[in-house]
Amino acid sequence: MGTWLARRLIAAVAIVFAVVTLTFFLMHLGPASPIVPSAEQPLDPDVVARLRQQFGTDQALSVQYVRYLTQLAHGNLAVSFSQRRPVAAALADAIPNTIVLAGAALLVDFGLGLLLGVVMAARARSRLDAGLGNATLFLRSVPTFWLALIVILVFGERLHWFPVGGTIDIVRHHSFSFLGRIADRLWHLALPALTLGVVGAAGTARFQRNATLDALSADYVRTARAKGVTERRIVAVHALRNALLPAITLFGLALPFLLTGAVLIETVFAWPGMGKLAADAIFSRDYPVVLACALAASVMVVAGNLAADVLYAVADPRIRITERDRA
């Protein structure tokens, strides 16, 4: 297990390095360079030239790349062109918000997805199964940003049930008690997390339905039925436990989905997380921030997949035996 984990860690570092390198060069291959003043609010070109000098973007690409890697090795993510502060500070502000949103969405994704999947499998080929199947297919098919806009329009703009954006009530949050602040945060989290989570849950449900159906047709389930175990217990205990194994893999794959989805959701809901930070940085050609976001996202995705692999190995002894045999 130790050797296996070490190998996976080395591969993870290599992947992160490749992502950073690719992002660095792809950005510079783009059609515009950083610190281009807005045409609406032009800046004197001499001022722009000095800004480029100050930020070091006037140097050769190879020099910039080596300098960036050196800074990175020292834990320095450089200074943001647009925010005029260390990128690490901008990331430190944004990452917790993204983790909260992605975490909540993950809860909705798997909580709702697993539940619906099991219900659909338990009532396979019934009207309920067909109805839920169509609903999940619809939700899986709609673009996340479109769903977000509809949700904002209905629940925010028309009904005023939920705020249309932000993580807190910026006017009153600090006047709330501790519990009030938690409630305020949950109230603001509801729409973005549900929007992001429900789309994922639709996919998880369909996946879980098939996994549960496979488990329900296994020999041990037939044996349990023959022994007189109730159908509810068969589904909840015997089938679900085994059908959960593939869901662990799905969990690892859900992270990239949530992070990419978060770019859109955070933008639409004005959620100040990493997705919004990255989107703003891309549009303003704020290279250090884009690179840092790519770095942070790749670390999170690689770590998520690594965690899923470890969980899988822990949950399924066959994996560990195979790996030990290989070692």
Partner: protein
């Protein structure tokens, strides 16, 4: 079912019952939330380049005097005393400001003439790299005669000396900034938590919002509205949604007309119309697309430019896209500029004359494909427009349609805003649809945009005419009185219109939105929120959120 509703009920209970009682009442309560499309870059005026930062600087840092509602920039007529309680001319090149002794920094010390001198040094220091430095080049020195007297010495005499002395510089606290190395100002910690001398003091800046609080000891009068917050939104549409959902109270402009009825439907919002300081035009590149050393094969020809200009129905386009929210300008200018009414006349809309000009110039459709050509060159142009502007996208399509009937082929290149700006700067376009936000005066930017001095800078099309440059010099530097200045500016604009380096498309009126509980709303066209400290919310209109203490 009942069990399932329990968490929801608990949440509602928390949300409603866990709030401390609101306790502010009277004339000095109130919270105003501005919806902002984006974040400020830094709150240190000399190094900031964002418009949002300027809005916030208006509340924190004072100028010596500020421009009046008429936006007059000639002489000192209409200027309002702020840090300086009075001023006088010692001679034709020396301006003396007497500071208000009541003015103080928010951390205690008084504002002194030493701060004024320090500010000028900082703004003009190449290490600070202020975008205002080129505009301040007319000022030779600023010195402190005593702690309350600042002396400005100019290099030359011109009509907008006073405007240049006061408009571009916000006075900075020397006692806090003198120790910060000048080459570190662009990312100085001070810029994330500034200390100023204005009506509001800095409270906090998070990735989601920025908050200021009224300085109850402000020497010009205590601001009525106690808290100002800027809620950062990723784009304009989200900002409008926040207004409609009552999560924000104000937005400086609604942009294109379709937003107006959408906002009007929200009963809590009031609209305020004011002259815009921006305009857009069809810019012709007089040098070859991508090679600024060669003339453009089509657009370097004055006759072709004039023909295209006369084939564009500017008034109809403006009505079609903007309704009554914009006007087709008589020159490259916003409605807020005083030269709007000097009496120049742009080339008329006349498609017959346009066709005659092209034919006379040798541009005919020789192969019957509907596009004119001359010497094997098709009369075909690439028109660049940014993806961020819906109104300019519509203009591009309409212009394409109008010019097609003249036998001019227009290929539209929609590119993202950064690429668009880069193309303009590099001359990588045939024609483009830029829009400009401007200062209150044409003087500071006109030369950069329409003379040889602006080549490689803001004169993207590299237009130049020595006669125009001479006339511009007369208008900006030697006009002795408003009448002669108006005459000189008319001559400048007439020359420009005859040369047709661009087609002046639209100059919008801005429509601001402010929550209808706010009274005494005054919006200055050049700096929307500059007078917020004079606004108020009457006690009987206060909402729960207005009374909330932080």
């Amino acid at each position: 079912m009942r069990r399932a509703l329990l968490p929801l009920a608990a949440l509602c209970l928390l949300a409603t019952g866990a709030r401390r009682p609101a306790d502010c009442s009277g004339d000095y309560c109130g919270t105003l939330v501005f919806a902002a499309g984006g974040q400020p870059d830094i709150l240190l005026p000399p190094v900031s380049v964002s418009a949002l930062s300027r809005d916030i600087h208006d509340q924190i840092f004072l100028k010596l005097a500020d421009i009046g509602m008429t936006l007059n920039t000639v002489g000192d007529r209409g200027f309002v005393p702020v840090l300086a309680k009075r001023w006088e001319w010692r001679d034709s090149l020396t301006l003396v400001f007497h500071l208000d002794p009541r003015a103080h920094w928010q951390d205690g010390p008084p504002v002194t003439a030493g701060d004024v001198a320090f500010t000028f040094q900082a703004y003009t220091d190449p290490q600070v790299n202020s975008s205002s430095a080129p505009i301040l080049a007319h000022i030779a020195s600023v010195t402190a005669r005593d702690s309350l007297t600042a002396v400005f010495r100019f290099r030359d005499r011109y009509p907008e000396m006073f405007y240049d002395a006061v408009y571009h510089m916000r006075i900075l606290p020397a006692h806090l900034l003198a120790s910060v190395p000048r080459d570190h100002w662009m990312s100085a910690d001070f810029g994330r938590a500034p200390v100023g001398d204005g009506p509001y003091r800095f409270v906090t800046w998070t990735p989601e919002y920025l908050e200021l609080a009224a300085d109850s000891t402000f020497f010009l009068g205590r601001p009525h509205i106690r808290r100002l917050l800027w809620r950062f939104t990723p784009n304009f549409d989200v900002a409008i949604t926040q207004l409609i959902a009552d999560q924000a109270d104000a937005l400086e402009t609604l942009g294109p007309p379709p937003n107006v009825p959408r906002v009007q439907a929200a009963k809590q919002l009031a609209l305020y119309r004011y002259s815009g300081t921006n305009y857009a035009f069809l810019q012709f590149n007089l040098t070859a697309n991508g090679d600024t050393t060669r003339p453009h094969p089509i657009l370097s020809d004055r006759q072709v430019r004039r023909a295209i200009t006369m084939a564009v129905d500017r008034v109809k386009l403006c009505q079609s896209v903007w309704g009554d929210l914009a006007k087709a300008p008589p020159g490259p200018m916003p409605q807020a500029w005083w030269i709007w009414n000097v009496g120049t006349t742009p080339l008329p809309y006349d498609t017959t004359e346009a066709a005659r000009l092209l034919t006379a110039d040798g541009w005919v459709d020789s192969d019957g494909d509907g596009i004119r050509d001359k010497g094997g060159v098709k009369l075909s142009l690439h028109l660049a427009t940014p993806t961020s502007s819906g109104s300019r996208h519509r203009y591009a399509l309409l212009i394409q349609g109008q010019l097609k009937s003249l036998g001019v082929d227009i290929q539209i290149d929609e590119v993202d805003p950064v690429t668009f700006n880069q193309r303009l700067l590099a001359g990588l376009f045939d024609a483009a649809l830029p829009a400009w936000n401007t200062d209150p005066t044409p003087s500071s930017s006109f030369a950069q945009r329409w003379t040889r001095a602006g080549w490689g800078r803001f004169n993207y099309g590299r237009y130049a005419n020595p006669n125009l440059e001479r006339l511009l010099g007369q208008a900006t530097l030697s006009a002795a009185d408003p009448q002669s200045a108006a005459r000189a500016w008319r001559a400048v604009l007439d020359t420009l219109n005859q040369d047709a380096p661009g087609v002046w498309l639209f100059a919008p009126d801005n429509v601001a939105v402010v929550h209808n509980r706010v009274a005494a709303v005054t919006i200055r066209p050049d700096s929307w929120w500059a007078l917020v400290w004079t606004w108020r919310i009457p006690p009987d209109r206060l909402l729960d959120r207005d009374r909330t203490e932080r």
